[in-house]
């Protein structure tokens, strides 16, 4: 693709944006437009494919090609699109319900296959569009319209699920930090292969403040750590604290003694970072958990087609139909 330079405005559509005032989706939309303007892909080669949910209205607001699919199936539709035309930059926008509930199967298989899609999962820990039922990422005990006495479901850790499915790029960002969204999406775009990006998103109406313990500016400094390739695992207001991994466990150390983060390692360290979520005493990780290079599905499909076409010559319909074992009458 030729390196095209767009402005975020080029990526706005003519449709009125229709989320609730204060919804975290706005910030994500803006940051996405800013990021996509910089990936060097012309508008017509970008397509956004979504399922159903508040988050899934996303394609309508983007000035490129868009497909608002059906609930849970965005990853499957996008797999078809990308495999049919690997030249396109295909982005999947989905919610915690759309991706992890009804769409869970397509999600894990897309990640396993390493289809070169960028999957943005807006995690508000709730079904927004259907007005407030718990989702597979809602914490146990959450009271919602369908769990009036508290949900008895244990939630997924989306990062663990993505890692466990074999995703080659796994990252996390948050709606309150547009810069971080942008840099994360740029890294995702640069990755050749599936990129799963969990985006903590606030639903002001049905689950307000779900992430507030980690998402506000102050909380972010003290209670999150940003995983960046080649950077030390440090956090705190003045980056004064560090993490060191030993034997699957994690300890807090002085910044100077912190391990350096390497998302490309084959060893299962990314899981250790996901495990931080379970620890009250440790920060939650944002940033890039894993970044592995593996053959992509769409490229492998194309290679096989190309290789066999080169080997056998372009298929000839007549030869296919008129085989050796045919016989002549009359």
């Amino acid at each position: 693709m030729s390196a095209v330079q767009l402005t975020p405005k080029d990526l706005k559509s003519d449709q009125e944006v229709r989320w609730c005032p204060g919804c975290g989706d706005y910030a994500i939309l803006n940051a996405t437009q800013a990021a996509l303007a910089e990936i060097g892909v012309p508008r017509e080669k970008m397509t956004i494919i979504s399922g159903i949910g508040c988050s899934s209205r996303f394609p309508y607001y983007m000035g490129c090609y868009g497909f608002h699919g059906i609930h849970g199936r965005a990853a499957a539709i996008a797999t078809g699109t990308k495999t049919a035309n690997p030249d396109l930059s295909v982005w999947v926008v989905t919610g915690d319900g759309d991706a992890m509930s009804i769409g869970g199967n397509h999600l894990i298989h897309t990640m396993r296959r390493n289809v070169d899609l960028k999957i943005l999962m807006f995690n508000n820990q709730i079904y927004g569009l259907t007005k407030g039922q718990y989702s597979p990422t809602s914490p146990a005990g959450l009271k919602t319209k369908t769990s009036p006495f508290g949900s008895v479901d244990l939630p997924f850790n989306p990062i663990n699920l993505a890692l466990g499915s074999g995703a080659t790029f796994v990252a996390r960002t948050v709606d309150t930090n547009p810069k971080h969204i942008k840099s994360t999406l740029l890294a995702a775009a640069a990755h050749k292969g599936v990129a799963f990006v969990e985006i903590w998103q606030n639903c002001v109406i049905f689950n307000d403040g779900a992430w507030k313990d980690w998402s506000t500016k102050d909380a972010r400094a003290e209670r999150t750590i940003d995983l960046q390739p080649g950077q030390p695992l440090v956090y705190g207001k003045d980056n004064e604290k560090g993490l060191r991994i030993s034997g699957g466990e994690v300890e807090v150390v002085a910044a100077a003694d912190a391990d350096v983060w390497d998302p490309t390692t084959a060893a299962p360290l990314a899981y250790v970072m996901a495990y931080l979520d379970e620890r009250e005493d440790l920060p939650h990780a944002l940033g890039i958990f894993r970044q592995h290079d593996k053959p992509t599905y769409d490229a492998a499909v194309k290679e096989q087609v190309d290789a066999l076409t080169a080997k056998k010559g372009k298929g000839d319909l007549k030869k296919l139909i008129y085989t050796k074992d045919a016989w002549q009458v009359g």
């Binding site: 508008r43 017509e44 080669k45 394609p59 499957a76 078809g80 035309n85 045919a326 016989w327 009359g330």
Partner: protein, 614 residues
């Protein structure tokens, strides 16, 4: 002593043995050779259940029936003239179907005490009078093969594996067929396993020679080539293979590449398997995680500009229905192939039924019309697949193509199409931004196909109701009514590009038999014979297009006193027709036994109806 060769016109042979006995290979070899001889033919393989049952049991019996003839035939025959039974179970399961006085060849080597036990037989049917009235040829094939292969480097177990080629040789002798095609096939097949090639060759020849030497038969038979066969190039084809070829051809005729998103399911899996081989045609096959992903990738691929296609059977179609609605709303071309099997639920997965017609018509939320066509025979499946592609592309719509287990695994000689006479229907993907609107419509009411990657045509589609012309989301009540009518009318408009089907038989008669799908052969054969032999006033109308129904049917129906609709279901086409053509009465004749109609059943039913007995 020289053995007399008698001429026969029409023969039905059934090979039956254990799942491991290679009956399908035997049948297919006999079929290919017979095709080359120039007979018309039809086959009916009958797999038992899905899993290999324990050897020797009734549940493990696998059958292959072939009918071949000097004249045109339409079915694999009702009643075998010859049954080859490789073991006791195969005999007991099949002998009742054989024509009285017919030949039964039994491999006595597999009628030991243990074999009888496994087949749940108290006594040996070869000895207890069970087969009175048949011409039983008892041969210890195991022993003969072992003799013939004495000195072979193969293990004795592998030697016994060759017994199906011994039987094949014997049948070639009996019906005066050449050995060469099978010898060639063996050479190619076992090019890297010379031992096996040799052994099977030897077994084949031994079987053939045993006809002369052992004089087990009183005579040989000859079935001469079809004389009045239409001139052309022919080849033997199975239904699933024909669908695969038709899809490739359809895509090429539309100027597109084919994309198949699928999930294996009996009896549709072969289509995926065939297409997976055709990479040099630019065919992409994605074996997905389930049926939903299968159709969704196909939709995504059509969206990206390929010809999306998905293949499945009934339970899989049930899973795809929500996504079919999406294809209808987004008006993307898509071919959905349903190879029907017996249900409901998992049902009888390897048996035939024609019971997905109403599912195809109505199995979706809300009013969601799409065109439906059904193939009649293995060869017809090619034309139908091409036709499905044409409609999908010209009308920007999903199309359902119905096949079934009988067509899928059955074979017949296929008169190959003349390549330059195949219809062309180039897909018109738009590129010009001037005047482009996602939901504008052409004369066929199709919307323009604008593919991602095309500069200036960026637009958004999806499953919410679309505004006429602009394609924007619209909740406007009048627009929803309009779009619902447009969707209906677009599909009904397909009528304008399909011919009124022709009646076979008299223009006016006492009875019209209306059929669809794989019952074609039984009905055609049954009606022709009744006319020919008993001068019965009956005609046959076969419907390829199930939705929309072709123009002119009403007038056809009006010309007959009664209308009979045989179907392998509990009443589906009959129900559809009754709703659409209330001026006529449609008498349903159903069969749900996991088996095709026999021509005799059709004849008997017709007779009964005409005698006022049903």
């Amino acid at each position: 002593m020289s053995i007399a060769v008698t001429r026969q016109d029409d023969v039905v042979i059934r090979f039956a043995g254990d799942s491991g006995d290679g009956m399908q290979i035997t049948g297919n070899q006999f079929t290919d050779t017979t095709a080359l001889v120039g007979n018309d033919l039809a086959t009916f393989p009958d797999f038992p259940a899905e899993i290999r049952a324990p050897a020797g049991t009734r549940a493990g019996v696998s059958g292959f029936q072939i009918r071949f003839s000097s004249t045109d035939i339409y079915t694999a025959g009702d009643i075998p003239d010859v049954l080859v039974a490789m073991n006791a179970a195969a005999l007991i399961v099949n002998y009742k179907d054989v024509a009285p006085g017919g030949i039964i060849i039994a491999n006595t080597g597999n009628f030991t005490e243990r074999d009888l036990q496994k087949a749940k037989l108290a006594t040996n049917p070869l000895e207890d009078g069970t087969l009175d009235g048949y011409r039983v040829i008892a041969i210890d094939i195991n022993a003969r093969v072992t003799e013939a292969l004495a000195g072979s480097p193969l293990t004795s177990k592998d030697v016994l594996r060759c017994k199906n080629f011994y039987v094949l040789g014997l049948m070639y002798w009996l019906y005066s067929r050449p050995l060469e095609p099978t010898l060639e096939w063996l050479a190619a097949k076992f090019a890297k396993k010379q031992d096996l090639a040799d052994a099977n060759r030897t077994a084949l020849r031994a079987g053939y020679n045993s006809g002369d030497i052992h004089e087990v038969f009183q005579g040989r038979y000859e079935v001469v080539p079809v004389e009045n066969a239409l001139p052309g190039t022919y080849r033997n084809i199975m239904g699933n293979h024909a669908v695969a070829l038709g899809l490739v051809a359809g895509a090429e005729l539309a100027g597109l590449k084919l994309f198949l998103g699928s999930y294996p399911i009996t009896p549709a899996t072969d289509i995926l398997q065939h297409l997976a081989e055709l990479k040099e045609f630019g065919v992409i096959t994605c074996q997905m995680e389930d049926e939903i992903a299968g159709i969704c990738t196909a939709i995504g691929a059509s969206y990206a500009g390929m010809l999306g296609c998905t293949t499945t059977s009934g339970p899989g179609l049930a899973l795809k229905t929500e996504a079919i609605g999406l294809a209808i709303m987004t008006e993307l071309p898509l071919v959905i192939v349903d190879v029907q099997r017996a249900g409901p639920s998992t049902g009888l997965p390897t048996k035939v039924e024609q019971a997905d017609l109403l599912q195809s018509l109505f199995g979706r939320n809300s009013d969601a019309p799409l065109p439906i066509i059904a193939c009649a025979t293995p060869a017809d499946a090619f034309d139908c697949a091409v036709e499905a592609c044409r409609i999908a592309v010209q009308y920007m719509t999903p199309v359902i193509l119905l096949s079934d287990n009988y067509i899928a695994n059955g074979a017949e000689p296929w008169r190959l199409p003349e390549m330059d006479k195949l219809p062309h229907f180039p897909a018109a993907q738009v590129t010009d931004p001037a005047g482009y609107a996602p939901y504008a419509r052409d004369g066929k009411l199709a919307r323009p196909w604008a593919v991602p990657g095309t500069p200036g045509l960026e637009h958004r589609i999806g499953g919410l109701e679309k505004e006429h012309i602009t394609g924007n989301v619209s909740h406007n009540p009048e627009n929803h009514q309009l779009m619902s009518e447009l969707r209906r009318d677009k599909v009904l408009g397909v009528r304008d590009t399909i011919p009124t089907p022709e009646v076979s038989g008299p223009r006016e008669a006492d009875l019209l038999v209306v059929g669809w799908g794989s019952t074609y052969g039984a009905i055609r054969s049954g009606t022709e014979r009744l006319r020919r032999e008993r001068n019965v006033s009956v005609a046959h109308l076969h419907l390829r297009h199930l939705w929309p129904l072709a123009n002119g049917l009403d007038e056809i129906f009006a010309r007959y006193k009664q209308i009979l609709v045989p179907e392998l279901n509990m009443g589906q086409l009959s129900r559809l027709l009754q709703g659409e053509y209330p001026d006529h009465r449609f008498l349903h004749y159903g069969k749900v036994k996991g088996k095709p109609f026999t021509a005799r059943e059709i004849r008997e039913k017709i007779t009964a109806v005409l005698e006022g007995k049903s």
